[in-house]
Structure formats: C-alpha cells, structure tokens
Subunit: 356 residues, 2 copies
DNA sequence: GTGAAAGCGCTAACAT
DNA sequence: ATGTTAGCGCTTTCAC
C-alpha cells in the first residue's frame, strides 16, 4: 500500500467516497441517489441514504457546480430600499425560487444606478448563477451587458443594450393598474386627475405615468403637470403642501402608497378634507393602509403572480434551453376601493362644464 | 504532442489558463494577481489585468471554492414575511456583507418554525457558506444543529441545542426599547400600560414582553393581561375592538407599528380618542407612520447598527478563527415621540389613587 | 518573483 | 443496474 501523505487539514467532513464505502457501492451510485437519477436499485438507494445519514454527510455544492457546470442557483438584482413593494416582491421571488429547487443569491443596488446594476449582474455571473432576475430596472443610461444565461425582467422589458442568452419579461400590469386607478377617479366624476410620480429613472415610474396619461386621454381629460416624489411619505407630504393651495385639484393618483399617505397628511393639515374635497389613490396594496384614516384606496400589484410566473419561465429557459416558452399568464389587475376616494365636491354654481 | 480529445461543449468561456497564455505568465501568477497576493511584479500584474480585460475573463467561484475551501459568502436565514422590520434588517445585512467583500445567500423560512430553520441552515451549509446569520430565531422547540462555521444571531441568543464553531450574538436592544416605550407611557402619568404582543414563539416577542414587564415592575405598576397579535394590522385591529369596551385602559404598547395602527383604528371606530383617551406606542420606527393621524409614537430598532456590528464580528470570526473578538458596541435606544401618546384623561373625581 | 505539479469533491461519458 | 476513468478551473505546496 502506497504511503498516503497526510495533508495539513485533512478536512474531517465526510465526502461522497466515504458514503460509498460505508454503503458498499461506488461513488457514482451515491451520486445517482443524491441526484434522484433512475437506474438505482431500491436496496442500493436505501443503503446510500442510511450511510449518508449515519455519517452526517453534506454534499459539496461547489464541487458539484464545478463538475456539472450548473449551480442550481438563481441570482437576483434587487433595489436595496426597504419599501413594501420591492421587499415583498423579493420575498415572493425567494419563495418561487426555492419551490423550483433552486437557491437564491441576492445583490442589492442601493439606488439602482445603471452601472450598479451592471456590476451586480457581473458579480452574480461570477458566482455562477444559472439565471438572473432583474426586478426593477432603470430606464435611462443603460450600460451594455451581455450574459450567457437566461435573464428575467420583472416589471419592465430590458434595455436594448442588454443581451442575454435568452431574455424573458413578466409584467406587473403597472400600466393597467395606473389606468384603473385613474379611471376609478374619473368614474367618480372628477374632471381630471393629478399624478404624483416616482423618480423618473425608474421604469415603474414611467409605466405608471403612461397608464395615467392613457386613461386621461381616453376620456378627453386635461393632463395636469406632473408632481414628483421619491417613493417616500416625506416626498408625498412635500407634494401635498404644494398642492393644497391649488383649489382646482380634486383627485390625485400617487405612484406609491407611502407617498399617498404623506400627501393626504399634508392636505388635511392644510384644511382640505380627504376624500370630501380631494380624493387620493395609492399604488402597491400594503394592507396596513386599510387601517388608517381614511383607509387608502389603492391598486394591488400582482407580485405573487409575477414572481411565480417569472420564475417558472426562467427555470424553463434554464432547463430546456431549446424549447419554446410556455405563454405567460396575464397578471391580474386589482383595484382596492377603500375610503380615500369619493365624488368631487359640487362646484359653486353647480356647473359641470369644464373650466379650462 | 498528445492528441487532445475535443469535449462536446468546450465551454467557450475563457479560463485562467487563457489569461495566463495571453499575458505570457503562469496560471499561478494569474491567481496571485486576482487574489491580490504579494510577490508579483508590477509588470506581470499589469499584463495579467490587461489580458483578463481583453478576454472578458470571469473568475469561476465554484472552482475557487473547491480548491480553497472557502466561498467568501455568508448565508442568512430570514423570516419570509415582508414586514418593514425584517425586510429592512435584511437590506442592512446585505449591505454590510457586500461592504465586507462577501456575497449573500438567502433562505427564507416562511413562518420561522424550528425545523424550517434547521433545514435552512443545512441548505446554506451545503452551499458552502463561510458563516451563517440567523436573524430572528424562534424560542420554542429548538432543533439540535451543529455547524462548523461561525454563526451570528441577531436579536437573540441561540438556543442551547445550537452548537457552532463559534457563536456570536448582537442585540437589537429589544428589551431596552420595550422598556423605554413603557416608561414613556408611565412618565406621562398612566397608571399602567397594556401590551399587545406578537406571536409567542418569536424571540422578539419574548424580549418585548420582558422589557414591558421590567418597566412595570420598576414602577410598581399592576401588570394587566397580555393581548395577542401576529404582527399584522388586522390582528391589532382585532385586539383594539376587544380593548375598546374596557374603560380602564389608557395606554397600550404594541410590539409592532402595524399592530399599533390597527389597534388605533379600532379604538377610534369605537369612539375612543387617541391620544386623548388612550395612548398608543408602536415598535419598529417605520417612517411612514409619522404621516398618519395621529402620528405614531414608536421606538426605532437599531437595525443599521446591529447589522453592521454583527457582520463585522462574523467576518472577524471567519477570517481570524483564533483571535479574540472585538467588543460589540451597544446598539442605541431611540424613542420617537410623535402624536399618539399623551397624559391620561383626568379621572372622574380627580383621584390619582390606584383603583385596584 | 515565478512556475510545475497535485489535488479540492463531485459528475460526465463510457464502460460493463 | 452499477462501476471506471477522466476531468471541471481553480489554489495549494514546494521547488526554483
């Protein structure tokens, strides 16, 4: 027997060879059992499992990844802001990924700057992820980036400079949701609807603006100037203070629940009643805002559906590179009418004519 | 020259050998440059970097992990609920981990059941993480679990059955925060303070209850029966309905902002004024609740500090296994007094005597 | 300062 | 149904 040279730290952890020895089979058979491959006798399978259990064996994913070229992991580039929307989308994604038998690697981009997104994707690629999901891309100044794994975009199509092995997009119905919110207000009898938008670089912002514009245009309503916020309640509050002095506004659609809350607060502080004088609709569907005064009318983003559907598509693209993709379900559009919206106050003189 | 057999998919991606060839150096030198090791001439370093750039080379982390036995990644077991508290803690952790030069692997446990936590940790270990962080452990029915990497517990000490190579704990000052919230109410003149707690299995729940009890005991105040919620606004609302009919309660400390919001809503619906009749304090510090009526008095969890401090400790334990740990800073305790708290209504008869 | 050789623990391809 | 052999792409050891 050749003298085995002891290595410095002979890593006491059991390896597949140990399992094979204890079970009395070959390493390959152990591998087959652990990967659920066919052509293993029940007897062998049982022995392997017992041996693994007995030894406290834990598979080494790095070795598997190196040998197989796959990691069974999916990377996600998320916005590092703890807003309800992004956070709950991330939780849904994690769940869907885990259900699909993959693990998750997360890289946050603090403010979603394009070069940060590129860097985040590069970092995920080095980690060898089998697929990438970009949850809320930025619209402007995209950085060219190529990847050789499938990529899923949630909520927005990728920038043209983005080239992937395969590119998938699943919507969160932002346009339709914004449109539904605006139409709800118009249906209530408001002459027009103001819009408090998020930061302009966000795709999400753009979609909501366009949905709002579409609803206005369809009714021939006048399009008032945009209000700008940064998703925070504080920015909604600032917008509300500016708006409160303008007696002509009777309805506002805010691009986020928190901005809507800040807006309402400023309006009320200024003596304007909500919803009697001004109606406000939010965007996101955070359930806690059913318990404030007035309960916030909002629109619910179908994160659960988008995450599940998107990951399904992504995993399909990873596992069956050739096959055509199953069609994506359309995400549901859900308007949650609560107490922050009402018909506009009747005009002095009772006129319904537009006062352009 | 021996005939090289072409493999089926010769993976077009450049490897370190390609970089070495282009740079005119050995693979080992490439490795040295990529790892920032000393003993490389500036000239060699420059050529390697240029070659890597030119080829679009990306290091293979799986191979590195296999060879070195380290992944430079940290795994976190998080509660898969999108509450503000847990979500923002996770974001802070991700940031701290990234700043330390590590990558993050996340596994959510939907409801934090002990066996789920054990499974999550096992999954992370298979992935070869260099360290583990358990962000909000459960108190009851712990599953024995051994790990050979350092583990960081945020907000609670590990269960006794938990054995790690090295165990670190960093607090979020929950006890002190709960105590501060309760004392604030007592200082305002309330005879006692009711507590709306979270689910009992949560460590976080336990800490808050104990802090509340400590404050009460220190003042010799009577300890009323506990109210139970599940962190949701809906559960706070339910508790509020039950409480509204009890004329003796004047102050409530809720273990979460959202529960506080639901509670206040129920109280007001029942005709009780907040803060005039009943004062309410929340827990978490979500800034949006500064913009509701009444603005919520709350207590801010030092997530930023806890995450940064905890990861610093964990990385230290990973990289210097022997060394003594630098002492942990005490997390700051921050009470945010807003509008939901006030002195108790004056008693009929003006008596200040306790009506036991 | 640099390089050659020998694995890390697993799966792939091809036996049998 | 199972085993054998040859790597995956990197870092390690140790020689130069």
């Amino acid at each position: 027997m050749a003298p085995e040279v002891e290595r410095v730290a002979p890593s006491t952890a059991p390896r597949s060879a140990d399992v094979a020895r204890v079970a009395g089979v070959s390493r390959k058979t152990v591998s087959r059992v652990l990967n659920g491959e066919p052509y293993v006798s029940d007897e062998a399978r049982r022995r392997v499992l017992a041996a693994a259990e007995e030894l406290g064996y834990r598979l080494n994913h790095a070795a598997r990844a190196l040998a197989s070229g796959r990691t069974r992991s999916i990377g996600v580039v998320a916005l590092g802001t703890a807003g309800y929307g992004t956070a709950s989308l991330l939780v849904r994604i994690e769940h869907a990924v885990r259900d699909a038998g993959y693990t998750l690697r997360v890289v946050n981009t603090p403010d979603g700057a394009p070069e940060d997104i590129a860097g985040a994707v590069a970092s995920l690629l080095e980690q060898g992820v089998d697929g990438v999901v970009v949850s809320e891309p930025i619209v402007k100044g995209d950085v060219p980036l190529r990847l050789d794994v499938p990529a899923l975009f949630i909520g927005a199509p990728p920038a043209p400079s983005f080239t992937a092995n395969r590119t998938l997009t699943v919507g969160v119905a932002a346009h339709e949701l914004a449109r539904a919110a605006t139409e709800h207000l118009l249906d209530l009898g408001h002459q027009t609807v103001h819009h408090l938008a998020g930061p302009r670089q966000w795709y999400a912002t753009k979609d909501r603006i366009e949905g709002w514009q579409a609803a206005l245009a369809a009714r021939g309503a006048h399009e008032p100037p945009l209000l700008n916020g940064d998703w925070s309640a504080a920015s909604g509050y600032a917008a509300g203070r500016a708006l409160a002095s303008d007696g002509s506004v009777t309805a506002v659609f805010a691009a986020g629940d928190e901005m809507a809350i800040g807006l309402i607060h400023a309006l009320r502080e200024a003596g304007r009643r909500v919803p009697e004088d001004i109606s406000v609709v939010g965007f996101d569907g955070n359930p806690v805002f059913a318990y404030v005064s007035p309960p916030l009318t909002t629109v619910r983003q179908p994160f659960e559906a988008a995450a599940r559907e998107g990951i399904r598509l992504l995993v399909h693209a990873i596992e069956k590179p050739g096959a055509e993709l199953p069609p994506a379900d359309e995400p549901p559009v859900e308007l949650v009418v609560r107490g922050s919206t009402a018909p506009p106050p009747s005009r002095p003189g009772g006129s319904v004519l537009r006062t352009t």
